[in-house]
Each structure stands twice: as C-alpha cells, then as structure tokens.
C-alpha cells in the first residue's frame, strides 16, 4: 500500500491545497458552527424542550454576534489594505463582500427576531428554524465573497436548499407546502441554467475564476463571442431568478405568499442582497469589457421588473402578495444601478454599484419592516393578510398602522425616509451615465407604486362602512393584535433605520461608496 503510493506520487502530483485564511472565513465559520451546534443540541438533549429552545436562541445570537465582530474586523482590514483575494483566488475580501454580508447578517438577525413569535404561535420547532436560517445565511455570505463561478454555485445551492425547506416550514399549512415545492422545482431549474451558464463561460474563457475571466477577456479578442454571450445570458437568468427580476419572477408571488411570514421577510431582503452581490461582482466586475453586450439586456430586465412589479401589485387583494410584487419592482430599481454599475466610477461621481448597494440595504430594512408588520397582524395559521383585514386598523391599532404607513411611504420613496435617498442615489447614477429614459421610467414606476402603497394605507385609515359596523356588532370582535417582544424589537429597529437612512444618510452612503472603491484586485 505504501509502496504503491510511493510509486504513484511522482505521476500524480499532490494537489496544492490553498492555505486556510481563517480571518476571511471566520464569519462564515461562526454562522455554520452555530447552526451545527443547534442541530446537535436538538438531537442530543431530548428531555427539556425549553432548555433546548433557550440555548439555541443564545447560540444563534452568539453566532451572529461573532460573525458581525469578524465582519467589522474585515472591514477595517479592507479599509487599510484594500480588497484582497485568498483561497487561491476563489474568495474575495473587499468592500462589496463585507457590505453585502452585513446586509444578509442583519436580515438574518431580524428574521430570527420575527421568527421567535411565529414559532410559538404556530407551535413549530424553534431549533430547526434557527439552524436553517443560519445555514441559509452562511450560504449567502459565501456567495457575497465568492470570486469563482463554482464557489458562487455552491453558495447558491447551500442557501437555496435551506430556503426551499424554510418556505415549506409550516407543515400544517398547504400553502406553505405548495410554496416550498414550487420554489424547489423552479429553483432547481434556475440552478441548472446557472450551472450551464458556468459551463459555457468556462468553455469560452477556459477558467471559472472571476478574476481569471476578466484577465482572459482583457488579454484576448474572441473571434466568436457566441459561446461567451450565451454563458452571460444563462448566468443572468439564473441570478435573475434569485433576485426576482421580471420575467423570471413567476415564483415570487406564490412563494412569498405561502412561505411563513418571517421567512418571507428574510428571503425578500437577504436573497436579493446576496444574488445582487454576485450579479454586481460578475457583470460589473468580470464582464465589464462586454458591457455594451449585457447592458441592453439589463435595461430590458429593469424596465420589465418595474412595470410588472408595480402594475401587477396594483390589482392584488392580498397584502403579502402585493408586497411580493412590489419586491419585483424594487429589483427593477436595483437593476438600474447594475445597468450603470461602472459608468460613473471615475472622479467624484456616484457609481451605480454604490447606489445599488445602498438600495439593497434600504430595501432590506423596508421590506423586513413591512413583512414584520404583516407577521404581527397574522393570526394563528398565518391567515388574515387580506387587504380587508387591514380595514380600519388605524383606529384599533394606531401604532401598527403608523409603522406600516412609514414602511409603505418609504417604499414609495417619500422624502425623509430611506426609500427616497435610495431612489435618489439610483437615479443620480443613471443620469450620470446619461440614461435619462431609465431614470424617467423609474420615476413613473414610482408614481404607480405610490398608488399601490396608498391603497393599503387608505384601507387602514378608512372608517368602517355602516353595514360592516352592523355586521361587526353581531360578530365577535376581531382578536386583538399582540406584538411579541421579538417582533417589537425588529419593528423598532427597522423603523428607526428607515428614518435614520432618510434623514441622515451620509454615513451609510459613504460606506457604500467606499465599499465599491475597495474591490479585490
């Protein structure tokens, strides 16, 4: 045996494994470790459910706090030395990665906070939810750092599989099961398409490394670009599916509606951030030289998303479904940023990448806030999210109605909320790049979306009609809405963030701006 190895060794050179750069993977390891610990705990400790639940919550927050600490450390490292690559170029540590990871991590924390009350109400397994959320976040964080198409794919699969399970987490609800299955089948398709895109890109360039692709394209002129462009297209479809951009949005309304509300909140914010992080890195980074080829396509996707998202949202009668469509519309706004990603990179202009990153952050806060209110409003069995259930809410629950109004106004883009600054940044970067039409289309889409959000707002503030009052007298009063502490904290944080990002956006915009300047070389 040893003799055989000794003979074989010269023929098969040992695989050069890259040095493990612990600080780089520390956030991911912390999250992954916490998830595994929770799974083990649940499997080993069987006598006290209460003990397991409490410990797993502590573990989850410890994991997230550790990851956040290491992210801070990475940010300082990146700020001092600039972005760098590690793990043989497969992982990038730079401003973009850290910013997106921070959004994903924040979304995870808020998702956990919302999930606590949900699990108690529906009598589901808390440790499982926490472990899956943490695993999912782990995948998204890897995706934000991935600098190799294969790593992107692995990360995509890790978080997607966790999301499929999370969507179907509510075992007793058929809609949740349906959402999980639908997301799984369509998601598997999109993954396959993405994988094929990797294969074609590899065929055209001979490498899967994003830096390698950029170097290859810069150094060689392709006589036949068909293979490469087909690769672009398939990659775009695969990631477009994840960010819920039209026309790859078909799954979004059903899955967002069916999935447990805290999961909807988490995935609307985090999936978008992670997948857009990858899109920005791949298209604005590696494929920058072919910008004239992919830019019109992204233009089309942006316009389609804006139109589908806003127009379809206008006719929904279910609040979760309406917010799902509006999420498609917001993907359109971020796509505007992607479309002009590098156009303004020189001088003191605002590059589209920074605008897109800021938009992703603001969207995460607004979306989690809005879905958080929906979560608070829902009753046992994840019901009561029809538009009519919100009628007259302002009288019975002024605080909740006020919060939802704030989040909806922010999504409309009303000044002094984060939504306005985010739209301002995106449109400014679009105008910087001379894309006036896109800015105007975006603004008009914002006007239509105002109708969507105001329709919900007006429902909350509308007085009950006399007939309904008469009916209500006979019927038992609607159950009082109770805000559990976790959801309360999450709503407070998101509401505060929406206002702070709107009134004093300087600091965060600066960070987003810096993040785009500190890209891995």
């Amino acid at each position: 045996m040893t003799a055989w190895l000794a003979v074989a060794a010269p023929i098969l050179p040992p695989i050069a494994t890259p040095r493990v750069d612990w600080p780089t993977v520390a956030p991911v390891v912390a999250m992954f470790g916490a998830a595994l610990a929770i799974v083990l705990l649940r499997a080993l400790v069987r006598h006290s459910r209460r003990l397991v639940d409490t410990t797993s919550v502590v573990l989850a927050f410890a994991g997230m706090a550790t990851a956040a600490g290491f992210l801070f450390y990475q940010w300082h490292l990146v700020r001092e030395t600039g972005g760098y690559q590690t793990f043989a170029g497969a992982v990038a540590v730079d401003g973009l990665a850290v910013f997106v990871q921070a959004i994903v991590l924040g979304a995870c924390a808020l998702g956990v906070l919302l999930g606590l009350g949900y699990v108690r109400r529906e009598a589901l397994e808390l440790p499982e939810l926490l472990a899956l959320l943490l695993l999912c976040t782990t995948g998204m964080m890897v995706m934000a750092q991935a600098n190799d198409l294969v790593v992107v794919f692995v990360a995509l699969e890790v978080f997607s599989i966790a999301l499929y399970v999370l969507s179907a987490f509510d075992l007793r609800r058929a809609e949740s099961q349906e959402a999980g299955l639908k997301y799984f089948v369509l998601g598997a398709f999109s993954s396959a398409i993405f994988l094929y895109g990797i294969a074609l890109t590899y065929g055209a360039t001979g490498t899967t490394s994003l830096t390698g692709i950029a170097t290859f394209l810069a150094g060689n002129t392709l006589t036949h670009t068909g293979l490469l462009l087909a690769g672009f297209a398939l990659l775009l479809v695969g990631l477009g599916f994840k960010v819920a951009a039209a026309p790859f949005h078909m799954w979004t309304p059903d899955v967002y509606e069916g999935a447990p509300t805290p999961i909807t909140a988490f995935m609307s914010a985090a999936t978008k951030a992670a997948a857009f992080g990858a899109l920005l890195r791949i298209f604005a980074g590696s494929f920058q030289l072919y910008v004239s080829d992919w830019r019109p396509v992204v233009f089309g996707l942006a316009v389609a998303s804006l139109v589908v998202g806003t127009v379809a949202a206008a006719v929904q009668t279910d609040v979760k479904r309406m917010l799902a469509y509006s999420s498609i519309g917001h993907a359109g706004f971020v796509l505007i940023g992607l479309q002009v990603a590098n156009a303004g990179a020189s001088g003191n202009r605002l590059p589209g990448t920074a605008a897109a990153l800021f938009y992703l952050l603001v969207y995460a806060v607004m979306a989690i806030g809005a879905f958080g209110v929906v979560q608070v409003m829902t009753q046992r069995g994840d019901t009561h999210h029809a538009l009519s259930d919100y009628r007259g809410l302002a009288r019975t629950e002024p605080a909740i109605a006020g919060l939802l109004t704030l989040f909806l106004l922010a999504q409309t883009g009303v000044p002094l909320t984060g939504g306005f600054v985010a739209k301002l940044a995106v449109f400014r970067s679009a105008v910087d790049a001379g894309q006036y039409q896109l800015a105007l289309i975006g603004m008009l889409a914002a006007v239509i979306s105002a109708f969507v959000y105001l329709r919900l707002v007006i429902t909350m503030y509308a007085p009950n009609s006399d007939a309904e009052n008469a009916a209500a007298e006979g019927a038992e009063p609607a159950p009082r809405v109770r805000i559990d502490p976790g959801a309360g904290i999450a709503l407070f944080l998101t509401a505060a963030a929406v206002l702070v990002l709107g009134v004093m956006p300087n600091w965060t915009l600066d960070i987003a701006h810096q993040a785009t300047q500190l890209l891995a070389k």
Binding site: G347, N348, R349, L350, A354, P398, L409, V414, P415, L416, F420, V421, L424, A425, F427, R428, V431, D432, Y436, A439, L440, M443, L444, A446, V447, A450, F451, L454, R455, I458, Y461, A462, P505, N506, L509, D510, H513
Partner: protein
C-alpha cells in the same frame, strides 16, 4: 448678503416640526392638549414670520438670512436656506394661514392626528419656500403631499379617498419630470464644470449662460420643470385634480391647499423654471400665456355652472391662478409684481371664502347652492362677511384682489396686448359667477332649514376677520408688499433680459403699481 444674527429660517422650519412631535406625544384621549400645542406652535411660527417680515431689508439684492448646511455629502446635497422678496410673502402667508386653519378646525374629529398632520404640512411648506438647494426643495415639495393626502383622506367629505389619491398621483407624476430634470441639470453642470452641486444660485447662473447647453436641451428641461409646476398651479389641461381635492378636503385643508399649495407651482416658475431657462421661458411664454388665459376664461365659465358652492370656489381658483401665471409669463416687472401680489391676495380672499363655506356646511350639512336661500335674513353677519369676501375675490377696487389682478393685467398689456385683452373678460366673469351664486344662496326669504340658523360665533369670526382685514389693508395700501418684492422681481426681469434675447417693455410713465 444680509445674514440674520440667529437662524430665523431654520427656526421657522423646526418650530412646526417640534410642535408636531410634541402633539404626537400627547395622549389620544385628550385631543385638546394636542390642539393647544398646535395653536401655540403655529402662532409662534407666525411670530417668527412677522419678525422676518419686519427685519427683511427691501433694498438688498439676492437672498437674505442665508444658512448653509451639509446634508448628503456623497450626493452633494446641501441644506441651504434663504429668502428674497418673492419667497418672503409665501412664507408669511403660510405662517398666517396655519393658525387660522387650526382654529377653524377646532371641531374636527381626532384632533391629535389632525394637528400633527397640519403641523407637518406647515413644516414642509415653509421648507419649500426657503430651500435654496434643488434637492432639498424637491424633498419638501414631495413631502408636502403626505400630510395633505392624509388630511383629505382622513377628514374630507364625500369621495375623499378618491380625491386624495388623485391629488397624490397627479402631483407625484408631475414631480417625476421635475426630479429627472433636476438630476439632469446637475449632471450637465458637472460634465461642463466638474463640480457636483444642486445649489440654485450656482446652477441658475450656469444654465442661463448662453454657452451652457443647446437651445433644445434648455427647452426640454424647461418643459420638465414646467410640467411639475403646471400640475401644481394648476394650468388648464392639468387642473382636473383640483376641484376634487378642494371640494372633498376639510375646511382647513382647502384653505391651505388654495392659499399655499397652489402657490408652490407659481413660485416654482418664478424661482426655478424662468431664471434657470430664460431663453426657453421667453420661447414658451406664448404657450403658457395662452394656457393661463384659457384657464381664466374656462375656470370662470365652469365655476358659474357649479351647483356646489365649494366646487365653485375651487374652479374660481383655477381662474385666479391663471392671472398669476399670466402676469408671470408676461415677463415684465409689473406683470410679475402683479403675479406675486395676486398669489398673496388669492390666499387671503379664497381662504376667507373657504372658511365661510365651511361654516355654512357645519350649519346646513350641504353645500348645494339650491339648498340655500335667504341666508342674509337668517344669518346676517356671516352673509355680510361672505359678501365682503366675495367682492374681495371678484377684485372690487379697495380689496387686494383688484390691485393684484390689475397690476398683472397691466404688465401683460405691455408685452402681450391681446392676451391681456381676452383675460380681462375673466374679471367680469368672476363677478358673474360669484354674484349669481350669492344671489341664489343669500337673497330672498329664508325657508325650511334655512330659517333660524346660528350666526357666526367668536371663534369663527376670529378666523375670517384677519384675512379680510389684510385684504382690505393691501387693497388700500399695497406699497409694503410691492416695496419688498420689487428688488427681487426687477432682478429677475433683468436676469431674463440679460440671458435671453429679450427686452421687457417699460410703461411710458411710472404709473405702474396703480394701487400706490
């Protein structure tokens, strides 16, 4: 440039905001606490407004009380404020109408939320008129929609939800063009000079220079700005939101809507559209003048046909604002002076009319002219005040309406004779629709429910009398207003003459400002 010893404009902006926050913290079960906060802060703001009026120097060119603060560094957005002779009276008018509006709404339900929304509206309106940075202007311009929306939707009558939504969407659609226009101007300025700024003075100086941009670009940008402001004014084909919003809004909402919100449009023309694109403004002046004249005549005719008294006044606003736009785009000193004067005068007289109609509605729960009759005999004081406000609105000499419309017509006559001639018929039509309505509603013998109505009480008197007194004062003695606005207006006209190939005709003898 004169700078105040203390940040007066910021104080005017922050006082209503502080009041709104304070009112929000008051218990819901005691709306009277919130109301008291509302009265106190709005009167305090008015006090600041009066001190602004008294300390404003009429001879200084450019902006006074300038403050500059950084806001969003990465986007080069500043929070710069200042005031000149054009914005001065808009700010004071805003500060005046809000305490009156709050006082008139003492019986609206849910006083706490009402007060909060009113104070937020006051803050955003003051912000509109003091902003010297395009983005911060736009911020307040858009922000004002939200409280107004809630005021109409929450406290309006009839089809209030529909009216509120229509108001919001119309104005926001107009703003979409304004927003893209603002970004484009800043971008072109950056491309030419390498400096990112949204500062109004800097951009105005650059865009109005002949070399800045092609005539076509200038015209497109002018139109982008114009659409937003024309919706707000509203100019003729874009006015359809106004009758609904005015009619369904609560009384205080209508007063503020007519008194201040519409002026955001005409103010936008004077502050941004004309000075930034003077050549385009001269080029498009005939178009806008024509729309203004159509608005004057059309508004008057439609007003005459209205069965609803409030709707009638709403349409009369279309006509009055037509005079403002007419004077503005006459591009003469007299015309613009008249426009500014009419902006103030219309705020006073139409405000008074809306208040009185609100009082009638409180008593009779209808606004249909056919339901009224013989009110003069049953409620003589209220009817007398209505008659006085009506004559002020028609433009009877001695009231401010006359001075404003006469001056703006005079200014238009100098540069665009035939438009002025046609527009003059609007003055006669105003007499027709108002007198006819007055005759039907107030004269004759009271019958049925019109008998034995309660006449005006002290609180209601306190809301109407100041407006009428001011209108009367400015009607007899318009000099204080003209004196303070004339430096800014002259500078504006000189700026247009200098930057565009245009010469503003002067009157043969110094007989302008006939009311002096």
């Amino acid at each position: 440039m004169h700078t105040g010893d203390y940040p007066l404009l910021s104080a005017m902006l922050l006082t209503p905001l502080a009041g709104a926050i304070l009112a929000m913290l008051m218990p819901r079960s005691r709306p009277d606490y919130s109301r008291i906060v509302g009265y106190f802060t709005s009167v305090a703001t008015l006090g600041l407004g009066v001190s602004l009026l008294l300390t404003f120097s009429k001879h200084v060119h450019g902006y006074q009380y300038v403050e500059r603060h950084h806001w969003i560094n990465v986007l080069a957005v500043h929070f710069d404020v200042g005031v000149d002779g054009i914005s001065l009276f808009m700010i004071v008018l805003t500060a005046l109408l809000f305490p009156i509006g709050l006082l008139a709404s003492a019986r609206e339900h849910d006083g706490k939320s009402f007060t909060v929304w009113m104070l937020l509206l006051e803050m955003s309106l003051i912000g509109v008129f003091i902003s010297l940075d395009l983005i911060s202007f736009f911020v307040f311009f858009e922000l004002s929609l939200v409280p107004m929306y809630f005021l109409i939707a929450g406290w309006g009558h009839g089809r209030n939800v529909y009216a509120a939504m229509k108001f919001f969407l119309y104005t926001m659609a107009g703003s979409a063009f304004l927003f893209v226009g603002i970004l484009t101007v800043a971008y072109l300025h950056h491309k030419a000079t390498g400096v990112w700024t949204f500062d109004v003075a800097t951009l105005t100086q650059w865009t109005s220079s002949a070399t800045a941009m092609s005539a076509r670009t200038g015209r497109l940008l002018f139109l982008a700005f114009t659409v937003a402001f024309a919706v707000k004014v509203p100019l003729f084909p874009l006015h359809t939101w106004l009758p609904d919003a005015h009619t369904e809004a609560p009384t205080a909402g209508s007063v503020v809507l007519a008194g201040v919100l519409l002026k955001m449009g005409t103010y936008g023309f004077l502050r941004f559209a004309i000075p930034m694109f003077p050549s385009a403004a001269v080029h498009f002046a005939p178009l806008l003048l024509t729309l203004a004249v159509i608005g004057i005549i059309y508004g008057a005719i439609v007003a005459a046909m209205q069965p609803d008294l409030k709707r009638l006044i709403a349409y009369s606003s279309v006509a009055h604002l037509g005079f403002v736009v007419l004077g503005t785009f006459a591009l003469t000193t007299q015309g613009i002076q008249g426009g500014v004067f009419t902006m103030v005068s219309h705020g006073l007289t139409t405000g008074a009319l809306f208040l009185l109609v609100g009082m009638l509605y409180d008593r009779r729960h209808t606004r249909l002219i056919s339901e009224f009759g013989g009110l003069w005999k049953s409620i003589p004081i209220l009817s007398g005040l209505f008659a006085a406000s009506m004559f002020a609105s028609i433009g009877l000499p001695g009231f401010s309406g006359f001075v404003g419309e006469f001056t703006s017509l005079l200014g238009t006559f100098l540069s665009r004779r035939w438009w002025a001639v046609v527009a003059t018929f609007g003055v006669i039509l105003a007499a027709v629709y108002l007198l006819w309505a007055f005759q039907r509603a107030f004269t004759g013998e009271p019958e049925g429910a019109n008998v034995g109505l309660r006449d005006i009480n002290a609180r209601e008197l306190a809301t109407v009398v100041p407006l009428l007194a001011l209108s009367l004062f400015l009607g007899f003695y318009p000099k204080p207003l003209f004196d303070r606005s004339q430096t800014a207006v002259r500078d504006l006209v000189a700026h247009v003459e200098q930057s565009a190939n245009y010469h503003a005709p002067e009157p043969p003898a110094p007989t302008a400002e006939a009311g002096r």
